[in-house]
């Protein structure tokens, strides 16, 4: 399998304080990888770095066949104005941005794709509702439909199942399995260890520093989990420069 994403001694953070520290590793093409760790472990930071929203403090991220811009990303906190008068259909259709851009029209063939995506997440019948009228679970389904249409080789999901009921989780997991079947690379930050064990073949356990990375059963051993839990959210105003940086 070809490397799809490669982290090379990657350090990400804010105001020079690292939130992800010296991460090395490869995400292979078609991998279904769970990123697990306590709050403040750097999961969201890692994803933000991956999609280019923040720049590395040190190290780099290299992309394989797919370039970095072709990532479909679902952030943990979605900055969507729910009062905006937009229909569910139009919101989902924006997943086709790369096809239609600023001026392109939604031709008949694309309308079919949109309807398929809406059906795949079980929102048929909600097309003309405004986005503000959806429940939390329906809203998440809508965002998944948009991800579907983005048709990206790499899909990054930051805590996609927060505040979502088990039925919705099941349906969304089915979509993730479908992406996995299509050999897309999927990374998901998750808190539910049982869910990770059941559905994700590979796991990265992160606690600012990578604790373990590999097959899920091997990574999620009690010893590793304990080690991750002991991580304190280190943000020391007086912190010294990182030793490795000084050596360089």
């Amino acid at each position: 399998m070809a490397a799809q994403v490669q982290f090379k001694n990657l350090t990400l953070g804010y105001d020079r304080h690292p939130a992800v520290h010296h991460l090395n590793g490869v995400v292979e093409e078609g991998a279904l990888l769970a990123v697990v760790g306590p709050n403040g472990a750097g999961k969201s930071t890692l994803f933000k770095g991956l999609v280019g929203a923040i720049k590395p403090l040190a190290g780099s991220i290299a992309f394989g066949a797919a370039d970095g811009r072709a990532i479909a990303y679902l952030p943990q906190v979605v900055d969507i104005d729910r009062n905006f008068p937009l229909t569910v259909y139009d919101m989902i259709a924006m997943g086709l941005w790369r096809h239609v851009g600023v001026f392109g029209s939604l031709s008949g063939n694309l309308h079919g794709k949109i309807e398929d995506a809406i059906a795949a997440v079980g929102l048929t019948g909600f097309e003309l509702r405004t986005i503000g009228s959806l429940s939390g679970g329906q809203f998440q389904r809508m965002l998944f439909a948009r991800l579907l249409l983005q048709d990206a080789r790499i899909i990054v999901l930051d805590e996609p199942f927060n505040a979502v009921d088990s039925k919705t989780v099941e349906d969304l997991l089915a979509l993730i399995r479908r992406w996995h079947g299509e050999k897309r690379t999927v990374l998901a930050a998750l808190h539910d260890i049982d869910l990770v064990r059941a559905h994700f073949p590979q796991t990265l356990l992160l606690a600012r520093e990578p604790i373990a990375w590999g097959d899920t059963d091997a990574v999620l051993k009690p010893a590793n989990l304990m080690k991750a839990r002991q991580m304190c959210e280190a943000f020391d105003e007086e912190a010294q420069e990182c030793v490795e940086t000084r050596a360089a």
Binding site: V51, D79, I80, D81, L86, M91, W97, V102, F103
Partner: protein, 290 residues
Amino acid sequence: MLNHAFIEPLREPNVRHSLVAVLALALSAGPVGVFLMLRRMSLVGDAVSHAILPGVAIGFLVGGLSVIAMTIGGVVAGIGVALLSGLVTRATEIQEDASLAVFLLLSLALGIVIVTINGIDTTRLIDFLFGEAEARMSTEKLLVIATNTTISLVALALIYRPLVLECVDPHFLRSVSSAGSTSHFVFLAMLVLNLVSGFHALGTLLGVGIMIVPAAISRFWARDVSRLVLLSAATALVSGVAGVLISFHARVPAGPAVTLVAGALYCVSVVFGPVGGLAWRRLAGRHLEA
């Protein structure tokens, strides 16, 4: 009666000009107002209208009471302020409203200094600020307004999709396209053009009236953004025409007349508008099965 209300005023060339001006203004000011409202920038329009003062004053000093000179001055000052504050917002962590407020106040202060130092006749200035007592709409002003409307409508058509997405989900737009910033700046430029038009037609203080109030009205009648845009333009048109006629008959300035007509429509909408109007809440009736 009808003759007196509607036909009589048309014998005056100035009223005819004013009506055409307000028709043109309404077509673009209405849609611009909708996006201002949706971006929670409704008060920004008001603030930017003060920011164009130094430009207008400099235009006045250079070209006298020349519409073209004042327009160019106002547009340059307005776009300058909008660009500067937009750049600061995007390059730093400061929020758009705080950044705009700083630059607008600086601009207004500068404008007042320029006006005072050069002893610009304040009675004329009051005319500028409050709208002229009797409609004195020159062909020149009319051309400026029509040009601004044309530019604005074409620009809106070009940036409509990224502008909508930039309002709803800016992070998503940034992840798929770089059109977000461009559309934002084009929108700010459109705002300035329409404020300048509003200033020529209705005076700086209330030029914004025809932009903001119709947008707020439309929110009570439609749920979909494209309908909001159409409705807002239509409401601006009705208030504009009615306001100009009232201004002729009652000998009051056009700016306040137009804004008050829109205000009356707003009151009606708050009560009777089908989307969240107070009356419908009272009469909501029995709930549905599903």
